[in-house]
């Protein structure tokens, strides 16, 4: 029983990170209508940045977090401005192909610059544990979970409780009407991209003390976020949070009860079931 509880908590902790990585993707799709298959690569870039900041300046990923996030924000803006803005009116398949290409470029750029080696960022937190009664939890993973959930919920409140958030939702609901209110669509899309990429970057730096950075470190997250977002209902932020946690749990339980080899198969199965029985996603409309 204790072990099952440990499996549950462990799944929840991973799920928090999946949720954080996914809300950015859901936001970008929901507000700007853009499909981004390079989403995971930004997580990889943030991991590398955190790694190098530790290697070169001895700043751990938390100490370098603000610069890291600022850099991700800039990257998000540049990606929007120079790449995504050109395909705003193109079909989703064109956006998909373009961003798939972008993900390959970013992976290979990382390979060229930093080689294929696994880069571990071992700080004190990497090995320290929190002992809560019978539970032994990695401090870094607990911290990652808490920050991830807080940031995801903060995004939800930003969208629902602030004027800028209302303007962003307005753009999502009716672009023409938003323009007639004096809302600049392209600025809104840019802001959406900046927030989305910054959030996935935050997920990246939070896992840097736990997992190694390498050129394709972001790829599984890219796919996972996509699945989470489809399960959650494409543009729904609560759906992405719930979907992230759900996938973390499924992965953890499948790994424990069936075998680690089945972790991915289990959530792909859920993905397919959702596509068959509720294609609009668990939190989707219609």
């Amino acid at each position: 029983m204790e072990q099952v509880f440990q499996v549950f908590v462990s799944g929840l902790l991973s799920g928090g990170i999946y949720a954080l990585a996914s809300v950015g993707l859901a936001l970008i799709f929901g507000i700007a209508g853009l499909v981004n298959f390079a989403h995971g690569e930004y997580l990889m870039l943030a991991m590398y940045f955190a790694f190098w900041m530790y290697g070169i300046f001895s700043l751990d990923p938390y100490q370098s977090a603000l610069i890291n996030l600022a850099l991700m924000a800039i990257l998000g803006y540049l990606t929007y401005k120079f790449i995504m803005e050109r395909v705003l009116d193109s079909s989703h398949s064109i956006q998909m192909l373009l961003t798939l290409g972008l993900s390959m470029v970013l992976q290979n750029l990382a390979l060229m610059l930093w080689k294929a080696d696994y880069r571990n960022t071992r700080i004190a937190m990497t090995t320290s544990t929190l002992d809560l009664g019978p539970l032994h939890l990695s401090t870094a993973r607990v911290l990652a979970f808490v920050v991830a959930i807080a940031a995801s919920v903060a995004l939800y409140y930003f969208l629902h409780k602030t004027y800028t958030g209302a303007a962003m939702r307005a753009v999502a609901q009716n672009g023409k009407a938003a323009q007639l209110m004096g809302i600049n669509l392209k600025k809104t899309y840019a802001l959406t991209f900046i927030i989305g990429i910054t959030l996935v970057g935050l997920a990246g730096l939070l896992i840097t003390p736990i997992y190694p950075a390498f050129p394709t470190a972001g790829a599984p997250y890219g796919i996972l976020c996509f699945i989470v977002v489809v399960i959650g209902g494409l543009s729904s932020i609560p759906g992405a949070i719930f979907g992230g946690l759900l996938i973390g749990l499924i992965e953890s339980f499948a790994g424990y009860f069936i075998g680690p080899a089945f972790q991915q198969a289990a959530y792909f199965l859920l993905f397919i079931l959702v596509l068959i029985f509720k294609p609009s996603g668990l939190f989707g409309k219609g």
């Binding site: 609901q173 004096g182 809302i183």
Partner: protein, 234 residues
């Protein structure tokens, strides 16, 4: 106040507006009537710059605006209440109204504008936390007009505000537009409801197949043979 000169507009290869020219003077209520697909909404979109594929000159308050961005137009106080209202359905009534004051021109006075609109349209105050998507047709139109008023407009353009409304509500909407005009806002109105709209307008234009084919005083047009035949069925 608003002057449109020789505007030609295109959707791809298709020309929708042909040499359209019209004037709206300060304080006037001007109506454009015309059958379906005449190009009335397209003209409004050109003025608001949500359609940008056109040539010709558009001046507002002495400034050429035909190369401006849509938000710059809003900033000048030239506001459109679009056809079909285009409320934000999953935002509350209050959020819809507040976004009406998004532009630089009115953002700082958002609270006072909201008070003003709630005083003018108390029904909206009752519904303030309800989602706009759940409003009845009449309420939705009031919300759209209220949202337009939030921008502190110099000139308001209404695109078929009576569309889909019960006759009694149409009268209410027309009354409201008349009152907005009395308070000093210049008005350009597009209507299929010819009788009601010509009655309250100073001047009117008749549009057909992308061209202005007739122009005159509201009452004169109402009495003209052609209009009566074509639009009033008498």
């Amino acid at each position: 106040m608003l002057s449109v000169k020789n505007v030609n507009s295109f959707y791809g290869e298709v020309q929708v507006l042909q040499d359209v020219s019209l004037e709206v003077n300060k304080g006037e209520v001007v109506t454009i009537v015309g059958a379906n697909a005449a190009g009335k909404s397209t003209l409004m979109s050109c003025i608001s710059r949500t359609v940008q594929s056109y040539n010709g000159e558009i001046e507002f308050d002495g400034v050429r605006i035909d190369k401006f961005s849509p938000e710059k137009i809003v900033d000048l106080g030239l506001i459109q209440c679009p056809e079909g209202r285009l409320l934000f359905p999953s935002l509350t009534v209050r959020e819809n109204l507040e976004l009406g004051a998004f532009s630089k021109r009115s953002r700082a006075t958002r609270k006072e504008r909201l008070e003003y609109v709630y005083d003018l349209l108390p029904r909206l105050k009752e519904r303030s936390n309800q989602l706009a998507g759940s409003l009845s047709g009449g309420e939705a139109q009031m919300c759209a007009i209220g949202r337009g008023l939030m921008a502190n407009p110099v000139m308001l353009m209404f695109d078929e505000p009576s569309l889909g409304l019960a006759p009694i509500v149409v009268i209410e909407v027309m009354e409201l537009i008349k009152n907005i005009s009395k308070e000093g806002t210049t008005i350009l109105l597009v209507e299929q409801n010819v009788r009601q709209s010509l009655k309250l307008s100073d001047r009117a234009y008749v549009m057909e197949n992308g061209k202005i084919i007739m122009e005159g005083k509201g009452r004169d047009l109402l009495n003209s043979e052609e209009i009566r035949k074509a639009y009033l069925g008498i």
